[in-house]
Symmetry: C2
Subunit: 111 residues, 2 copies
């Protein structure tokens, strides 16, 4: 395994890990994706799940992930309007990343 | 898969994904680990690989990862002293995370 690392040369900005990290950067990004892997969520549900996040930061992260094609935003014309965020196929392809992170996290002492 | 998400309840700070993200946070952290999965490296090798990182930031990230038990730092008493950074067993257990990130990165358009 280690001898075969990295699986592709990482030069000229072509490193796939660097591209992934560029999309997933930011303290809250992976936690937003974790939550949405459980199904579509409204803004308030995400805010309540992500204890400590500011509404502005959550708005920014959701916009970034929408721009990256990781999630979609659907507004339902109700009163008051209802907005739901859900992962795209690209976003759902992140499940193995989150599973691997969870495995690593379980090996860390709870501190 | 999605129905079973999250694999464990995420409450009371016990979420393994959140614990993993707390250790791996920061723009450069995962790229340092990517480089060290290829074998031990000296400070200058990491700095040259991570184009754009400042020496202070690299020092900070290496100290954070050493504190977290992800890497070890060995100084060889030569003149000038040689310092090598290598992943611990815990750090090497991150290989599946990096592999999954690489898979995701390969599915992104090269921008």
């Amino acid at each position: 395994m280690l001898e075969a690392w990295p699986p592709q040369p990482c030069e000229d900005g072509s490193c796939p890990v660097a591209r992934a990290v560029a999309v997933l950067d930011g303290k809250w990004t992976l936690l937003v994706i974790r939550d949405l892997l459980g199904g579509p969520k409204r803004f308030g549900e995400l805010r309540d799940s992500l204890a400590g996040i500011s509404p502005k930061t959550l708005t920014d992260r959701l916009r970034d992930l929408e721009s990256a094609g990781v999630l979609s935003r659907t507004m339902y014309p109700e009163i008051p309007p209802r907005v739901e965020y859900r992962l795209t196929d690209l976003g759902r392809s992140l499940a193995p990343v989150l599973n691997a992170l969870g495995e690593f996290g379980r090996s860390l002492a709870i501190g």
